[in-house]
Symmetry: C2
Subunit: 363 residues, 2 copies
């Protein structure tokens, strides 16, 4: 049988730097665990714009549709800030999500024991935190029509449309309930049903899907209260299910609770392909970090943990994912720290490559 295929889109900023370490990890799994991947690489975001004048070339899009999983680094940077909306680096990312139909975005917000002190929250509030946010990723106000800036009565008017069909809500809800069944069987769904009809439909459909998951405890919360509760007592949550826009904000809020953004991976999953694997893209939650690009300072762990998610969700290699995650926990417990993880006590941080080295050694 052919090796499973990976398309690496390292993107902009620190994307290529952190992805270099992922490539070494991929190599290790091929050599030592006989888990070989066919790896190809291509451009996305500003890098693609520089080469082709678009943030994602059609050929790259076609490749992404064919591989077993895409690994993405990061997109964007100040150089591209003034580009037209239609060719901004983000459009490349959004096109991948939309055309691959990656409707379930899994964003763990996990607080690593060794790093609990880094949170701006009190240690007892976040130590042991382990939330999974399931964000709908292909619909809602990100993609709804009509949209744009028009002139009405000599005045500019900006319009976007929040639009959800029941099928879109249903499949996102199933993803959340399925995950909850493997975790602590608790889902909290967040919307603004008190203000938005799309939120009412969201709540209704989630409640209907829940009938198929009698073992799961379902609660509903308004998204504003959700933001409050995340700050007040995040450990009350296990799986949080929410839409594209609320998910964008709430998952960033949750990510920051952990205090170590450089540590958080994500998976974006779609429908099963012919081989049974889901369409999938994996990427760190952090951005392209232009301020530290090219300095060898970036923390590669979020990107490496994204590859661990690929092992688990695309390749059914949960035990190998555990192995990789355990190696990372070990090096952190042993005190390995990139610059973003340095406490006030100081010390010499590891470079991106050195962090890769110690993780490989721990494997």
């Amino acid at each position: 049988m052919a090796n499973p295929s990976l398309l690496i889109l390292a993107g902009d900023g620190i994307g290529p730097e952190v992805m270099d370490e992922v490539k070494r990890i991929i190599g290790w799994f091929g050599d030592k665990r006989d888990l070989k991947f066919d790896v190809s690489e291509d451009l996305v975001g500003g890098a693609a714009y520089d080469a082709h004048g678009v943030p994602l070339h059609d050929d790259t899009m076609a490749k992404a549709q064919e591989v077993d999983a895409v690994l993405l680094g990061a997109v964007g940077g100040p150089k591209y800030d003034n580009l037209d909306f239609s060719v901004k680096p983000e459009r490349g990312l959004l096109r991948l999500r939309k055309e691959m139909d990656l409707f379930a975005n899994l964003r763990p917000a996990q607080c690593f024991d060794a790093l609990a002190d880094f949170s701006s929250l009190k240690k007892d509030i976040v130590a042991g935190l382990d939330i999974m946010i399931v964000r709908e990723l292909t619909s809602g106000v990100y993609f709804g029509e009509p949209r744009g800036i028009h002139i009405e009565d000599n005045m500019r008017v900006g319009i976007n449309t929040q639009r959800y069909t029941e099928a879109e809500i249903e499949r996102a809800a199933r993803a959340a309930f399925d995950l909850a069944m493997k975790r602590s069987k608790k889902v909290c769904s967040m919307e603004k049903a008190n203000v938005m009809e799309s939120g009412i439909l969201w709540r209704d459909v989630v409640t209907e899907v829940h009938a198929d998951y009698p073992e799961v405890e379902l609660s509903h919360m308004y998204a504003d209260n959700g933001a409050m509760q995340l700050v007040r007592a995040p450990k009350q949550f296990d799986v949080i299910l929410t839409d594209n826009l609320f998910g964008d904000i709430l998952s960033d809020c949750a990510a920051m609770l952990t205090g170590s953004l450089g540590m958080l991976p994500s998976a974006s999953l779609g429908l099963p392909m012919a081989n049974g694997r889901p369409k999938a893209m994996y990427e760190p939650v952090h951005g392209s970090a232009p301020d530290i690009t090219g300095q060898g300072k970036a923390n590669p762990i979020a990107c490496i943990l994204s590859f661990a998610m690929a092992l688990r969700y695309s390749f059914d290699e949960g035990a190998e994912a555990d192995r990789l995650e355990a190696a990372i926990e070990k090096v952190l417990a042993d005190g390995a720290r990139t610059a973003d993880l340095m406490g006030p006590e100081g010390g010499t941080p590891l470079s991106t490559t050195e962090m890769g080295d110690v993780i490989l050694a721990a494997l």
Copy 2:
């Protein structure tokens, strides 16, 4: 000259309880400072629904349009959770905002020195925090058309519309810049211009209005990053300007940073009336708190501080507002605590009325 007029809409849950203390404070200003108000009262929310079958009677709406300021308690409660969308308690509140055209919602997130320990965040991150969020309150996805739940291809589809005209953005921006001129001359505007065209227009218009405020330092931030930065390092902000929906979530997030939701007031301001005063409604940020309703446990401070905002923004009585705020800071420093402000060390909390007593005594 006639006394200025106040309409009290105490609403549901703890609304009436906390408003009772506000009435005593209003009485004190009449007796001791010769600041007399003509006070009338009416129903809103579930209370109005129980009496009239609608969450805001037309007569009440008409009165609200005539008075110098509305003081609102809180709306909603489990009893009303299954009502039709169109008559839910929240609709009463939204109608007041919309028909009074209260476009500028001012939400201070302030951390009281005596209470910094209550935050789930580390003390040094929040001590001295003093942010003012200016949330656009009459437009955006809360009110945009088309909206509703429709059937398309035999499937339910939920739709809401985010819609902003440049005039709507401009007046909210002016409110923020005007406030910033009286504070530390720093405004951060938040949207999702990387994803939403309405966000692009928002950013453009705010930038244009900024030209009239050369002394103010303006920055722009994506709303997801805004949520992160609020959790990471909230003191980097002074005035935050944002739209209705982002403002709902970000202001709740910011409120929770302070750790004492029972302390936070808000003002919703509109255009100047014939007498020069702005259309105005003042309300605490907290909700109706059904779990503690009727137990005399509620903290009246947020509602009293909302009246202080009325003194400042409607009646140009900044010195009297300062006096009231100072009295509250004093009783807190002296250790006065309602149940929500009790630390792990315990003690006997003050009742709602007792808190009113000590504040009156401090005045």
